[in-house]
């Protein structure tokens, strides 16, 4: 029951915020903040009370009949993986509401409605265990994000919003075909019409068909987790979105892609995924290198940070398809830490744009003297994104690389070179934006108290994950065990 509560709080919170906005903008902001905080604490309590318990596969479930005629059930469930990602969702949700406290001034109510409905959509994606409901939440997630970019975005936001929408929608439709193909193959084999995840799990199917269906799912998640060739929507969407939009996009929407692979592609089609693994791993490494290479060439601050996401998510893809416990744990840790570090970088980029009204690094320079605390935080998160040991990203990346080494030495070495490339863009970001002469002699205020709080919380989170990641690892333990038992898993 609590799971449905999570989504309802957000939906109702959004509508309340829109209504309250007529009276006062800050009322809308407070309602949104309270709603997301409430969800955060519910999930936190869920995590602390029974982190890895639960008899079967799920920690808790909520299940009602929805469209019995074709076996569709409104089935929400949480296991180690989705619990962690839910925590990340609400954590970044709170921070994105705080980050846009001063930045959003027009149509504040509608903004918070959209923001909360995106979070509800994402929570729905992580919770849904019925394939129809999953597709329902997957498509629903796009609409408020589209509005967020299209209305509150920056210069050519329309192009970015439409591009984002079409990319995801088209790939979503491919996934729909795959879901239906699986649905009918399952009916063919067992005579039962159902979208239940657990029943669809080990449906016997021809290898050829399995490969096509797996590709259907994979492409949808590959567009979302930007795999190298399908990634071009990401820089536009991230650059043009408002701060909260970029944080939610980078922090959460990309993770739904990785989550999808871990939840649907690997378990549903183990043999096909196993046969496809080398290609996916190569794509991952190519993504790491190309993402870093493109990031290094950018002059726009937000675009640079956007390309870093392509590079970091390349690690996650590599980790997922290496398919041993080290790499899988590494993929999850990378997902969470990337969410925090890139979210923070976007908040910083947003803060800078809010102050200097420009994102071009060419016009920045010498900001350290002007805004020391903001620059300090930026340095910290730039170091986190280049994988400095002692911070969360390093633990994730090291585990992925360690695991990948078992599979193929070449890919692991290439990915490690990718980590070196990460240093290039991170240092360029710090050097070009914060060091050097204050040629444009900016004089802007430093971090406001609430922005300082956001930064501090994220710094503590990354340090904690960097030095003591065990709670995250133990929560994800059972899911890794299940993934490893799949026939193809070694």
């Amino acid at each position: 029951m609590t799971l449905l509560l999570l989504i309802l709080i957000l939906l109702i919170g959004g509508v309340l915020a829109w209504a309250a906005a007529r009276r006062s903008a800050s009322a809308a902001r407070w309602i949104a903040l309270i709603a997301v905080l409430a969800d955060f604490f519910i999930t936190l309590n869920l995590w602390i009370s029974k982190p890895a318990a639960g008899a079967g596969r799920w920690i808790t479930e909520a299940d009602w009949a929805w469209i019995p005629q074709i076996g569709v059930r409104f089935h929400l469930a949480v296991d180690g993986l989705s619990l962690l990602l839910l925590l990340l969702t609400f954590f970044l949700g709170v921070l994105s509401v705080l980050a846009s406290w001063r930045e959003i001034t027009d149509a504040v109510g509608f903004f918070h409605l959209n923001l909360l409905w995106i979070l509800a959509g994402i929570a729905g994606v992580f919770l849904a265990v019925d394939l129809f409901l999953f597709y329902f939440a997957w498509e629903l997630m796009l609409v408020p994000m589209y509005f967020l970019i299209a209305i509150w975005g920056h210069e050519d936001r329309i192009y970015a919003a439409v591009k984002f929408f079409i990319f995801t929608q088209l790939s979503g439709l491919l996934m729909l075909i795959a879901i239906l193909a699986l649905f009918f193959v399952h009916h063919g084999a067992t005579g039962v019409y159902t979208f239940e995840y657990e029943e669809l799990l080990n449906t016997p199917m021809a290898p050829g068909a399995a490969m096509w269906m797996m590709l259907g799912f994979f492409i949808a998640f590959a567009v979302k987790l930007p795999v190298i060739v399908l990634h071009t929507w990401l820089p536009d969407a991230h650059t043009e979105a408002p701060t909260a939009g970029s944080v939610v996009l980078a922090g959460l929407l990309l993770k739904t892609g990785a989550y999808g692979m871990l939840r649907f592609v690997l378990p549903l089609f183990p043999d096909a995924a196993h046969a496809f693994a080398p290609v996916a791993m190569a794509l991952g490494v190519a993504g790491i290198l190309y993402g870093a290479f493109c990031a290094f060439g950018q002059t726009d601050l937000k675009r640079l940070v956007a390309y870093t996401s392509v590079s970091h998510l390349g690690f996650v893809l590599l980790g997922i398809f290496t398919w041993n416990s080290l790499a899988l744990q590494g993929a999850v840790v990378t997902m969470i830490c990337h969410g925090i570090s890139t979210g923070a970088l976007f908040i910083i980029a947003g803060a800078i744009q809010h102050r200097l009204h420009t994102r071009e690094m060419g016009q920045m320079g010498g900001l350290w003297a002007v805004v020391p605390r903001l620059s300090g935080a930026a340095l910290f998160f730039a170091l986190a994104s280049l994988g400095l040991p002692g911070l969360g990203d390093f633990v994730g990346e090291f585990l992925v690389l360690l695991g990948a080494y078992k599979q193929s030495i070449l890919l692991s070495v290439l990915a490690t070179v990718g980590v070196l490339f990460a240093t290039f863009y991170a240092l360029k970001l710090v050097q070009r934006a914060f060091q050097g002469q204050n040629t444009f002699n900016w004089s802007v205020p430093d971090l406001a108290p609430h922005e300082g709080l956001v930064m501090a919380v994220m710094i503590v989170a990354l340090l904690w994950l960097g030095l003591y990641p065990r709670p995250v690892l133990t929560t994800f333990e059972p899911v890794v065990a299940q993934l490893e038992q799949l026939p193809a898993g070694r």
């Binding site: 929805w66 129809f132 939440a137 629903l140 079409i166 009918f184």
Partner: protein, 475 residues
């Protein structure tokens, strides 16, 4: 014709009676509100009577008509749609000068025609229903004859409808010549016998498909659609887009199921070609359009293409898919054209994209309804369109028509682009002009409210409707 038949025919009889009553009312005292109200009551009574005749079905009334659950369902759908169109047209024509009572008579006759079409079981009732539907449409499309565009649209529709009707007639003649019977149910038995010469039946069927193709605005025969939808007044365009197409598709479904057309491979390839071409044409033609009515016209071509994809999948799932998708399509198209009708002033229809720029900041409710309708056309969740598209792809997947499904997916992605162009216009920051424009008439807002509620309800909880459709064995 026993007493039982009359009860079964009750809905049709009530419609005919309503037409006469409205004519008499106009003769006595010409008042727009009165005739609209009378039409509303007439349609309401006919809708009510469906339940009465429902307990007597199935019942063959004369060899021409077959009243069964399937036809009653579609009759109900058509009467409800007409009710909505009456509400919309009252709001729309109230703003125009001149007397508008005759429109309701034409509308009642057209609705009667579609009701006959839906329950026809014979070539003659098929032809009669078709003409009963088409001829009043000529008048309705060219109704505001003071303006040039409706007149042009009316003439075009008249000529083309007549031409396609003759094609269909010729096709019927060939089929009749080959099989010796005009009754749908007997045709099936004839077709199975080896005796008939295919050289007559197959071309005959193809010519009939041309007639269907024109009426359903499917690909090769779709060129007229944008001109008529743009020219005709908005409520009438809504009528043409929904009721005339819905009735014809219901008949197509029933006719081709009764004669087991699935067996005839060539006919099916024709449908496959039509489906693919209309999906592509519909979506591509609308890509950079600036006229909202033309965009809706092209998108209706594309949607009919999707319907034909589901139509080709044989079996139970196809019936459900077509049935549900038609309901969703009705709601969405009526809603979209309803918005255009509601926003149109006395000067002319609000059909250019610039009229909708920044609409959300001026009239949030109307804008959100329109956005919801557009998302339903695009197949985004929480709208009936999503469930409809889901079923279409399910029907297609059940018989593994992968090539057509891939075309469906790709073209609907292209479709996304022009729906988003309208949404972008709606949500773009309004350049000045913050006036809210003419207040919306009560009937118009009631209609839109009902449509939005239905859209979201079916989008979220489609189970009751699906249960109803599942129990409609055709024929």
């Amino acid at each position: 014709m026993t007493g039982l038949d009359f009860i079964a025919l009750l809905p049709l009889l009530i419609l005919a009676a309503a037409t006469v009553i409205v004519m008499l009312a106009i003769a006595i005292h010409r008042c727009h509100a009165l005739s609209a109200a009378l039409t509303f009551v007439g349609l309401g009574a006919s809708f009510g009577s469906l339940w009465i005749s429902a307990c007597r079905v199935p019942c063959k009334v004369t060899p021409l008509l077959l009243i069964d659950r399937y036809s009653l369902f579609y009759m109900g759908l058509i009467t409800v749609a007409s009710l909505v169109v009456v509400l919309l047209s009252y709001g729309y024509f109230e703003k125009l000068d001149g007397d508008h009572d005759e429109l309701y008579i034409l509308m009642l006759v057209a609705t009667l025609g579609s009701a006959v079409l839906v329950s026809s079981n014979h070539f003659i009732s098929f032809f009669l229903g078709l003409e009963l539907l088409s001829v009043p449409l000529y008048g309705m499309i060219a109704y505001t004859r003071r303006r040039p565009l409706p007149l042009e649209a009316g003439v075009k529709y008249l000529v083309l409808a007549a031409v396609s009707a003759t094609f269909m007639l010729f096709g019927m003649a060939l089929v009749y010549g080959a099989l010796g019977t005009m009754r749908f149910d007997q045709m099936a038995t004839q077709l199975v016998l080896p005796g008939f010469d295919p050289w007559l039946v197959i071309p005959g069927l193809t010519l009939i498909i041309t007639g269907f193709g024109f009426k359903l605005a499917l690909a090769p025969f779709h060129i007229w659609t944008p001109d008529i939808y743009q020219g005709a007044p908005a409520p009438v365009a809504a009528y043409v887009a929904t009721i005339s197409k819905g009735a014809m598709f219901a008949l197509l479904l029933r006719y081709f199921y009764q004669i087991e057309a699935q067996g005839q491979a060539p006919v099916m390839t024709v449908f496959a070609v039509i489906a693919i071409v209309s999906m592509c044409a519909g979506n591509i033609l609308a890509l950079l359009q600036d006229n909202v009515k033309r965009i809706l016209a092209y998108s209706s071509i594309a949607h009919l293409g999707y319907l034909v994809v589901a139509f080709q999948a044989s079996g139970q799932l196809a019936i459900i898919a077509v049935g549900f998708y038609l309901v969703a399509y009705f709601i969405t198209m009526l809603g979209a054209f309803g918005i255009v009708a509601v926003l149109s002033g006395s000067a002319g229809d609000a059909d250019s994209l610039s009229d909708y720029r920044g609409l959300f900041w001026r009239r949030p409710v109307v804008a959100s309804v329109f956005t919801l309708m557009l998302f339903s056309l695009a197949g985004i969740p929480v709208t009936a369109g999503f469930i409809g598209k889901f079923y279409i792809v399910a029907a297609g997947a059940s018989v593994a028509m992968w090539s057509q499904i891939i075309v469906l997916v790709v073209t609907s992605a292209i479709g996304l682009f022009y729906y988003l162009r309208i949404v972008v216009a709606i949500f773009s920051d309004s350049a000045g002009s913050a006036d809210a424009g003419p207040a919306i008439a009560l009937p118009g807002s009631v209609a839109l409210g009902f449509l939005t509620a239905a859209l979201v309800f079916l989008g979220v909880y489609p189970q009751p409707l699906l249960g109803l459709i599942r129990s409609l064995p055709p024929g």
